[in-house]
Symmetry: C2
Subunit: 249 residues, 2 copies
């Protein structure tokens, strides 16, 4: 049975305007489903890939490592995301991918994606747009890692993920499932797991966030947003159906 690509199609149509035919073409893409265990690298550095991975379930990380083997996570990817969609046009730029929790991955061959992109330029445009938004997130990550102290950095990241999970709507307590270990969080924010632990405690003592049992709880959204210097524009979270751009006729 063919895996369901609806999540991926939804992600695209949330950001781009696609016709029914185009959406159908995406949904009809061939895909192989694979379950990946937590803490498993399922795309290795240097490996040549001929397919794109779409996250259907779980949390996936893109990372790099220095010569000592220390890791730096440069992006988190959640359901709907295609961490290496760019390999459709730059196949040699393989990025290592790691499942942080148990994850379900849908694997779509480059060949099939290229056929659809060539046939439906608006789909190619949607891919391009997706890659660009990802890039904006990464650029923001540089700022976060480079110019914010430990607590602010963590707060910022937890805000970002709240918005990406769309968990920040409504006014009350914000909460979402985020099944990472503190060590993995440390690899994302460029700190030691020990210092992550201490910073997390400090944030909790101020009543700002709680991170435990794989769940993030934010009692007062606005307060954390302020603490983390968080502004969500770069996520394009406010995209309305009306102002979705389409350049392909």
């Amino acid at each position: 049975m063919k895996p369901d690509l609806r999540l991926f199609a939804d992600r695209l149509t949330n950001r781009s305007r696609l016709s029914e035919v185009e959406v159908r073409a995406v949904l009809d893409l061939p895909a192989r489903m694979l379950k990946v265990a937590a803490r498993r690298d399922f795309v290795r550095l240097g490996e040549t890939v001929d397919h794109v991975s779409v996250v259907a379930e779980g949390v996936v990380a893109r990372f790099g490592q220095n010569s000592e083997g220390e890791r730096q996570i440069s992006a988190f990817h959640i359901a709907g995301d295609a961490p290496d969609l760019h390999t459709v046009v730059v196949p040699s730029d393989t990025v290592p991918l790691l499942a942080l929790s148990e994850a379900t991955i849908l694997s779509i061959p480059h060949t099939a994606l290229r056929v659809v992109a060539a046939r439906y330029p608006a789909v190619a445009e949607a891919f391009w747009r997706d890659c660009s938004i990802d890039a904006a997130i990464t650029a923001n990550w540089v700022l976060n890692v480079g110019r914010r102290d430990a607590q602010t950095r963590i707060a910022h990241l937890l805000c970002e993920m709240a918005v990406r999970y769309n968990a920040h709507v409504g006014g009350g307590e914000v909460s979402y499932s985020f099944p990472l270990t503190q060590l993995q969080l440390a690899d994302a924010v460029s700190m030691t797991s020990i210092h992550v632990n201490r910073s997390l405690r400090a944030l909790a003592e101020q009543g700002l966030v709680t991170f435990s049992g794989g769940r993030v709880r934010i009692p007062d959204w606005k307060r954390l947003v302020h603490r983390g210097e968080f502004e969500d524009d770069y996520l394009q979270a406010g995209w309305q159906p009306g102002n979705r751009l389409r350049i392909m006729d």
Copy 2:
């Protein structure tokens, strides 16, 4: 007189396969030329742009800033680069741009770019590919800032720029013009200009690099590459005319 877009077209054809007609379409794009003084922000945060900036001369930086106004440069752009090409598909994601040296910018309207992209899907593909390579560079920047110490970080950056300037070919002394102040360099590598100064001196004392008078000199390329843990694959520097990909028919 219309500014010459040859540099931009070259950049595209170095990475993508375009027909003569497509190249011509790029060259015929309308453009306005502007000279920007050094240390001048010529695209401000929040400002809505309706054009793309192409660097014709000089060095330009993409940056973000934290709540204290401290800056973090997330990308350098040199002649041929289009720092905000992605705004063609994500116009609301304006990135602040700063001229580090006196620079010449060619400004191309979104509308014109969109017409060409729609008419020539292969050009759209080339744009997408360009954005993707930029994104790969940014992802690497995260690793650099997050997981490398001062000297290694600087060494890595100076290697990257050498390759992007294509100054690393041949075996002898590598050298290129890189007219930044140490403060600007500090904003790129997330350090204090004071610490940049000291690290630079340390690197010089080891005979690895010299950074002064707006010029970088590398006596022994391989040694600096090693010191900076630099691997150039992410830059797609090895792209041969033969293996340029084209997905649009």
